[in-house]
């Protein structure tokens, strides 16, 4: 079970059980949908964007523990961030779940999201972790078509 605990860290299990910002957002001015056709995961990200600032963000949908916790922790981390900061964090997160195991990440930069570093050891689960982030990115960009991981 030790390897599994690398993936399913306590903070991830907690966000899976009690996802934060897991509702439709009243007053959202951007939304985007994301799908993972491989496993049937689907997510809607709601965003209130004002002057390139993320005033509020939430999500709904169904998915595995990794995708749900990723969405939950992403929304928690994104509130109050500028679009530029948000895109920077996405880049760091993406690197963290795909990078070589030898690479370490600055805890100050990634904060609680460091819990997802274990995803690197489970390549088939990377898309679960990144789907919410791709969907948020699409919401920021205002892309009309749904995001797909395939």
């Amino acid at each position: 079970m030790s390897d599994l605990r690398e993936l399913y860290q306590e903070v991830i299990l907690d966000h899976n059980r009690r996802p934060r910002n897991f509702q439709k957002l009243e007053g959202a001015n951007r939304t985007a949908e994301g799908y993972n056709p491989l496993c049937g995961d689907e997510i809607t990200v709601y965003l209130r964007l004002e002057d390139a600032l993320i005033k509020d963000v939430s999500f709904q949908g169904s998915g595995c523990a990794i995708s749900k916790a990723s969405a939950s922790m992403m929304t928690a981390a994104m509130k109050g961030k500028t679009v530029a900061e948000a895109e920077g964090l996405f880049e760091t997160f993406h690197k963290m779940v795909t990078a070589d195991l030898s690479i370490t990440f600055d805890p100050l930069e990634v904060g609680k999201l460091a819990a997802f570093a274990g995803v690197r050891e489970f390549p088939v689960r990377v898309k679960c972790a990144t789907l919410p982030w791709h969907t948020l990115h699409a919401a920021i960009e205002g892309k009309p078509e749904p995001v797909s991981t395939e």
């Binding site: 079970m1 390897d3 599994l4 993936l7 399913y8 299990l13 899976n16 059980r17 491989l38 496993c39 049937g40 995961d41 689907e42 169904s62 998915g63 595995c64 523990a65 990794i66 749900k68 489970f122 689960r125 679960c128």
Partner: protein, 423 residues
């Protein structure tokens, strides 16, 4: 009833082949002798693809070591050898399905291509706008999308037979769907997502009473049940080689000879012609008319070896043993907290689809994988049937005759761990 069936199964096992020795069977499958993450591999994903016995691997290797040549062409020794082996496999498939003639067997890439062949070659020319094709609510995408493409091409309409909460086809509703515009029925024999065994003989009878042809998708049935296309009286039957312990990339269409005679070719190319000029081409006879290009020769020969292997054990023996396994599995899994089995038909083959309260199928799959247990998670290429049950995904353990009761027990133990981790 269940006890009687089990006793009958055991009798059959004992009388005809002696006690079913699963360890001896397992010795024929080299891939099963390995460890995954330091644990013995427990392969419960045979509905996705089956493992291959040594004899199939050897037959394919032998073809390349000693027999490789193109078929139906050369007058040299090797080509004759290869052609004899290739056509010998066609005969084996014909006997396996109890087709009346070997020329009723067409080799394709798989069940998917087989359905596309029937859609484009048999059905397309017969359909006018408003005509209807009947399928069921439990079809694999491969028995949905080819018909949707055909509907776009012709203006025909797809009608869907509903199912009940156990995953059984509603036969009365099917009867009501058959109407003056129905031109074809295409139904799965055994559901890959639920395990349901459909009453295909009755489905065929009901369609034939209205002179409607029937295609049966036998991809999941052929590895588990004895199939007799003459007894079923179906017009077409398709299967995939890799699901009956043969190589990937080869499949079969059975079609009644009079249909095949009347159908235009599916693809054009070499081998499917008698003569070609720029003015006029004469097509070859059935079945070659449907086999354009160099076929998957080693795949076909390997499939022949797989069929020999399976018939050597006996489909009745396999059916009986797998039924015992399925009963044991249903019992072992019933003790898991929050489990719900999806697909509880009375007539069911060795597929166990399930969900766990509050745990997504993918998380189940990852935990089981770490225990060396391979299952399928997701929508099983049958999204509409999962939507029918209001589910985005299930976990699916699918059994074959090389699985053991101990492997089922390992599955149950691993599922207890899943509950512990996520509970």
């Amino acid at each position: 009833m269940k006890a009687t069936k089990e006793m009958a199964a055991r009798d059959r096992l004992g009388e005809r082949h002696g006690p079913f020795d699963v360890e001896r069977i397992r010795a024929d499958f080299p891939v099963l002798r390995q460890q995954v993450y330091g644990k013995p591999l427990v392969y419960l994903d045979s509905a996705a693809t089956s493992q291959k016995p040594q004899v199939v691997i050897d037959t394919v290797a032998q073809y390349y070591l000693a027999e490789n040549a193109n078929v139906h062409r050369g007058i040299h020794f090797l080509s004759e050898q290869a052609t004899r082996a290739f056509e010998g496999a066609r005969g084996k498939v014909a006997r396996f399905l109890n087709a009346s003639e070997a020329r009723e067997i067409i080799f394709v890439r798989g069940a998917t291509e087989g359905i596309n062949l029937v859609a484009q070659s048999y059905a397309k020319g017969r359909l006018r706008a408003g005509d209807e094709i009947v399928i069921s609510a439990m079809e694999h995408h491969s028995n949905i999308v080819p018909w949707q493409i055909l509907c776009e091409q012709t203006g025909a309409v797809l009608r869907v037979i509903p199912i009940n909460d156990d995953g059984e086809l509603l036969v009365d509703d099917y009867g009501a769907l058959l109407g003056p515009r129905t031109k074809l029925v295409s139904v799965v024999h055994v559901s890959n997502a639920l395990g349901t065994i459909n009453p295909v003989k009755q489905i065929v009878e009901m369609a034939h009473s209205r002179e409607v042809a029937v295609l049966i998708d036998g991809a999941q049935a052929a590895p588990h049940l004895a199939v007799d296309v003459q007894a079923l009286d179906c017009d077409f039957y398709v299967l995939s080689g890799h699901k009956v312990f043969g190589p990937t990339g080869v499949g079969v269409v059975y079609g009644k000879a009079h249909h095949l005679e009347a159908m235009p070719p599916y693809q054009g190319g070499g081998d499917m012609i008698l003569s070609v000029t720029f003015e006029k081409t004469l097509y070859n006879v059935v079945p070659f008319k449907f086999e354009a290009g160099t076929p998957h020769i080693e795949g076909v020969i390997g499939l022949g070896a797989a069929i020999d292997y399976v018939t050597g054990i006996g489909l009745d023996t396999i059916d009986a043993y797998e039924h015992e396994l399925l009963v044991h599995a249903a019992d072992a899994l019933s003790g898991i907290k929050g489990i719900r089995v999806i697909g509880t038909a009375k007539e069911k083959a060795s597929i166990l689809s399930f969900v766990l309260d509050g745990v997504h199928a993918h998380d189940i799959g990852t935990v089981l994988d770490q225990e060396g247990i391979a299952i399928r998670t997701g929508h099983h290429c049958a999204q509409p049937v999962l939507q029918r049950f209001g589910l985005p995904a299930t976990a699916r353990a699918s059994l074959a005759f090389y699985n053991t009761r101990e492997e089922i027990d390992a599955l149950a133990r691993a599922l207890h761990k899943v509950v512990e981790l996520f509970g």
